[in-house]
Symmetry: C2
Subunit: 409 residues, 2 copies
């Protein structure tokens, strides 16, 4: 029996996903909501930052030439942050100033209150001052018109701070992809609602895929449809295709005659980019598109579904958000024991990692069955074995895709 | 003039924050919202997973002893996922089965449809089968009662998948801290609303601190209060103390007489844990508590505020959420050039990192002024210099706190 028209290799499948990924529209997004998104345009300074010469400390603005130890200065005015002094600093005079206060005319230094006899109508100086001391020059952080952030930068807290100092209330960022995760299958029971009847299992894939989508930065939601009812399924897929940037299903893309998903998709105008990858776990992966919407039909086995998400869906989502680091990082690992791959296709083997003097040592997390969800909680990375070779010998290097970066530091 | 009663060392300040951090209450949280939170209790399997022997493929359930190449099998029933077959498999018979379907009585193997003449009333077998082939045994992923996840585990997508397979609709996790960020200062203008008048600056700190809080996993919001108006300020602090787990201000904790924040705090019953750390950037850091609420008065300079957040507030938030990795990771770095610290207190120097054969090479991002927000966008880590020594010589190691872990892979 002929099943998949043409299985393709993993790198080819990855390339086809990345090649067909486009950046989502740019939206002017309120500063507070831009965290984790990617700048679509260079940002330039709109003002000098700081906008004026100001004091780095609490103290007195003086002329440095007058600042002899032991001298008493009359305090003629004050300059709190936000309210410049009315007067200027004449010879032998001082103006009380606070951190961020505008340096008054005439002054060229600020003496810290710690180096005086204290706050008052006048004070005695205990330490000399040099020109420019404790003054932050206008424009020292950014000059009007200069580039402050580059297109392609991921917006973190420092970038938000920098944009705010320049008065940007919004940032031009690629918007988050909307992911709809279809949960299909009459055997599925919603966790926490009731006990299982014979033949039933709890739905885990749709929860996992929503979580993975959110970890990638997408807005994700679940949509349930009983897959045995062709009309319900068709309506759900139609709704998903119309509302989402990316639709993800798990199961229903294999070769069983009960698998309605694929036929429904083609019927709804989804163009198949590929179906079937020489890859374990995840051979029956389906990828298609309809206009701007992308459709991933992940395998139904939980491990296959999550691994295929990481290797194919996640890079697509990252690309849609304008991320340059679309793919998970790869590192070199080596095995302490021989690792065999007799599957004739690339095996993304779940491994735990341990740092040694020689580098990263990988060990299989144990049985690699695609139903073993617990194995994924123990996996730090996916070691890529084959398909050219039938395995990797102990001590030889292999490439591994890091799943949990935070565990590697 | 005496300013801070008693400056303490950075490690002492960090210890006092961590020692006074408590875990927030455990809440049964819907599975879909538990991402990134920490399990407060061990989770045990409530059912065998999978709950029954089931098929790993689409094909036919048979007796392996009958499975000779070339034999024709009548198909007597079917077992799609979720609906066990009514009949059992007799000698020489087969039952059509789909991935996840219950293995019918009598059968001890499943032959893939790929290894048959195809779907039909009967089929011819093209490849022999061995006992147990393509069968996933009940309980192979987890046995009822066995521990599946440990208290203290951070909930990622694999943990959500595993809990879902066990029917957990909610997870017992420490709840997210509520952070209220007070924005105080009459010199502050909301970014994006209007141009600056003389002496004014755009508010950046409260945006940055909210972003940092969210990056740490907290729920964070801003609250504006003009700091020059004692009554408005007092009302805002009171409101923040009553609604938040953690209140954060920036500015107003220095020694200027305009700094009302600290006196208002003490007046409102906030107990000072420390005020003033021998640390650069961030000497005037204030830390206090009132009942279960924690109060951080960060310095007003943007870089000081953000660095102090990372080193003091973030570990407190992580601890409240039950995270074991409360502090940011530290690595050893070395400098190519001598680095000087003449401040007499520990300097957390903003550095960029580069991987070399010898290890991580650190370079200062440039001028280290605490108003230079742009420097933080270029910093990968904070190298800790001093206070015992007056610097680090080229080639000597220093410790560095990693700010952007993702840049290190």
């Amino acid at each position: 029996m002929q099943l998949f028209e043409k299985l393709i290799e993993y790198p080819d499948a990855e390339r086809r996903v990345l090649d067909s990924t486009y950046q989502l529209p740019v939206e002017e997004t309120p500063l507070g909501e831009a965290l984790g998104l990617v700048l679509a345009r260079d940002l330039r300074a709109t003002v000098d930052s700081p906008p004026f010469d100001n004091s780095a400390v609490d103290g007195y603005a003086v002329r440095s030439a007058d600042a002899e130890v032991g001298r008493t200065f009359p305090v003629v005015d004050e300059a709190p942050a936000g309210r410049p002094a009315q007067k200027s600093v004449g010879e032998g005079e001082a103006i009380k100033i606070f951190t961020g206060g505008v340096i008054p005319d005439g002054a060229d230094a600020v003496v810290m209150v710690e180096n005086t006899s204290g706050w008052g109508e006048s004070f005695e100086l205990k330490k000399a001052a040099s020109p420019g001391q404790n003054i932050r020059d206008a424009g020292q952080d950014a000059r009007t018109g200069s580039e402050i952030l580059r297109a392609g930068t991921e917006v973190g807290a420092p970038e938000i701070a920098l944009a705010a100092t320049q008065g940007y209330g919004t940032l031009p960022v690629y918007r988050r992809p909307k992911v709809v995760v279809l949960s299909t299958g009459t055997e599925l029971v919603e966790p926490g609602t009731r006990d299982l009847a014979p033949g039933e299992i709890f739905d885990s894939n749709s929860y996992a895929i929503v979580a993975q989508s959110r970890e990638a930065g997408a807005d994700a939601s679940r949509l349930y449809a009983a897959s045995d009812d062709a009309q319900t399924l068709r309506a759900a897929i139609e709704e998903a295709l119309e509302t989402a940037d990316v639709v993800v299903t798990s199961g229903g893309v294999s070769v069983g005659e009960k698998d309605l998903v694929k036929s429904t998709l083609l019927d709804l105008g989804v163009e198949q980019v590929f179906w079937g990858v020489k890859f374990k776990p995840g051979k029956p992966l389906f990828y298609g598109k309809r206009d701007e919407t992308r459709f991933f039909g992940l395998p139904g086995n939980p491990v296959s579904a999550m691994v295929c998400f990481d290797l194919f869906v996640r890079p697509a989502l990252m690309g849609m958000m304008g991320r340059e680091d679309r793919k998970r990082p790869r590192i070199r690992v080596y095995f302490e024991e021989d690792v065999v791959n007799k599957f004739g296709r690339m095996h993304a083997m779940r491994v735990s990692l341990r740092k040694t003097e020689k580098g990263w040592l990988a060990s299989s997390v144990g049985a690699q069955g695609s139903g073993l969800v617990s194995s994924l909680t123990r996996a730090d990375a996916l070691a890529l074995i084959g398909p050219e070779s039938e395995g990797v010998r102990a001590g030889e290097p292999a490439e591994a895709i890091v799943l949990r970066e935070e565990r590697l530091l």
